[in-house]
Amino acid sequence: MGPATRAGCGETCLNINIPCRGCFGPPPGVAGTGPKYLSALASLLRVEKDEEIKEVIDSIDDPAGYFYRFAQPSSILGQEKAKKHMED
């Protein structure tokens, strides 16, 4: 979750070979970890067609669960407060 979460944990999980899951929440200025993480992933993909994109997405079980694992309650999806957050 490197591009989409705060540091400060001392890389606790990475030190024992466990992937980062972003438990420290989004970094300052990021309203939602989900889109940030998706865009980080998307920039790594080499796909041309819509079907190929769908194939990639289908390979992720429970994307909302992964990308919003610790940040769903403050997600910008359908929330008024996100607007204020963006304005700030």
């Binding site: 030190n15 024992i16 466990i18 079980d61 429970d62």
Partner: protein, 487 residues
């Protein structure tokens, strides 16, 4: 029913609960309930999560025994993915688990239980705490307690990232190995822990057993309960915390059952009562007989005393000697004296420390073969460990993508919940006469549940279907215009 005494909140336990004592017209205790008033929801909200996440979700069930849930989840994943951990991974897991046992048992003995014995059951409540204990036994002892817990937590941190909440449980192994450098300080920590365990046992003997008043209390009828007992045992039927078969003995000490943990549902039934959020367990084949002890009961107890009652001995030599001394002193097996759990707890901590000495010297410990990657999703997995508070089962079912469709947790305090109610009632009946009760006596009633080291945060993981709820609708000025109640 003329009078009701409520102890709320009850203290020095994990989680929230209360005790209600009902007196009859003569002021005698008619009934007593140990109620669990909090609710979690792990069995529901884990559904839909990927199974491999469980080793990171379930430790957060509690701040005291996260390692127990973590290990039960890890073993459930082994079963779910049909994979055996490598011998080195087994060693590393047990190393961490023993370290956890040591720090966990001492948090209970020194922080939660010792105030009743070292400071005294009737002492001023403001003194009846860990600071009061340190005031009595001296700062050096206090520092030793902190030191032994800190050093063992370093082992948890080394292997699974952080303490108290570990992060790295994987099916088939462990996330990192142990280096020869690390082996050195692990060995030192194990040696220190064995020394400390013997010191703690001596302290218990000096403070509790040599004090006739306390010994009489331990042996008194008010703190006795005749039930079945359940615990994990190894192939030689010795105490094992990490693995083995579940053994159950009857109130007279005869073997009632010996089963593989994956068959737990054949042996353990769960019962719902309207006055508590905890699901009470009983021996399914006997059937629910209500809150009764003795020959007609279907209730069983778990936790340290149960482990020693159930097993035919300890797995390590010094702990074995202590085990023999305990049963000699208390008049042979099985011991039904609830307060003897404190003694048994210290003997379990000693076995954990001794076992870690053995692991620290095992040549396999530093092997790099730490993970078996031969994973085959089986859709069902049951993991079982002996948590410090007793036998813990995690049962997961998934779809073909490994997403959870069913989660069932049967935790230590659930097994003990009905017996705790009975213990509290017996203590209340033995100690309370009339409605004017001194605070110290109420604390003695609390001691009856405290011996079990109950963890209510863990035990209230299920939704009974409906929450009791009061909804109050107020107008602008705050006046109530309507109240809706769901019982």
């Amino acid at each position: 029913m003329s009078e009701k005494i409520t102890i709320n909140p009850i203290t020095r336990l994990e989680g929230h609960g209360k005790i209600e004592i009902f007196l009859d017209d003569q002021g005698e205790v008619k009934d007593a309930f140990w109620q669990v008033v909090e609710l979690r929801g792990f069995e529901r909200f884990c559904i839909g999560r990927p199974a491999e996440e469980m080793t990171r979700i379930v430790p957060n069930i509690c701040g005291v025994c996260p390692s127990a849930h973590h290990m039960a989840a890890t073993k459930a994943l082994d079963a779910l993915y049909g994979v055996e951990p490598t011998p080195t991974a087994r060693l590393i897991r047990q190393l961490e688990y023993n370290a956890f046992y040591i720090e966990d048992h001492y948090i209970h003995f020194f922080f939660l239980a010792a105030p009743d014995f070292v400071v005294g059951p009737d002492a001023d409540p403001s003194e009846r705490n860990i600071l009061g204990v340190i005031g009595k036994v001296g700062k050096e002892v206090g520092l030793k307690v902190i030191e032994v817990r800190k050093r063992n937590r370093e082992i948890i941190k080394l292997i699974f990232g952080k303490a108290p909440h570990p992060e790295g449980g994987l099916p088939g192994g462990v996330p990192r190995g142990i280096t020869s450098e690390e082996r050195k300080w692990i060995k030192e920590t194990a040696d220190y822990s064995v020394e400390f365990a013997q010191f703690a046992l001596q302290l218990f003997k000096d403070v509790v057993l040599r004090n006739k008043k306390y010994l009489d209390m331990v042996l008194s009828e008010a703190y006795q309960l005749k039930t079945y007992y359940m615990a994990l045992v190894d192939e030689d039927k010795k105490v094992n915390f990490y693995d083995g078969k579940v053994r159950v003995i009857d109130p007279d000490g005869n073997e009632y059952a010996l089963f593989d943990p994956r068959d737990y549902i054949e042996f353990i039934g769960e019962w719902v009562e309207p006055w508590t959020y905890i699901k009470l367990t009983y021996l399914r084949k006997i059937g629910w007989k209500g809150l009764v002890e003795g020959d007609g009961t279907s209730l069983y107890r778990v936790a340290p005393l149960a482990r020693l009652n159930v097993a035919e001995g300890m797995a390590t030599p010094i702990a074995q000697k202590e085990y023999e001394e305990m049963f000699d002193t208390l008049g042979g097996k099985p011991v039904h004296n609830t307060l003897a759990m404190h003694w048994a707890r210290l003997i379990c901590a000693l076995q954990a420390a001794e076992h870690n000495q053995l692991i620290a010297s095992d040549p396999l410990l530093t092997s790099k073969d730490i993970r078996n990657m031969d994973l085959k999703l089986r859709n069902v997995g049951v993991g079982c460990v002996e948590a410090p508070r007793g036998t813990l089962f995690h049962h997961y079912e998934t779809d073909d993508r490994g997403i959870l469709t069913k989660v069932n947790l049967v935790v230590a305090t659930q097994h003990n919940a009905a017996p705790i109610c009975l213990s509290v009632k017996k203590a209340a009946q033995g100690l309370i006469k009339g409605p004017k009760v001194k605070e110290g006596l109420l604390n003695r009633v609390e001691m009856a549940f405290r011996a079990y080291d109950p963890c209510l945060s863990c035990a209230t993981h299920s939704l009974p279907g409906q929450m009791p709820l009061t909804l109050t609708i107020r107008d602008k000025s705050g006046a109530i215009i309507r109240t809706l109640k769901r019982p």
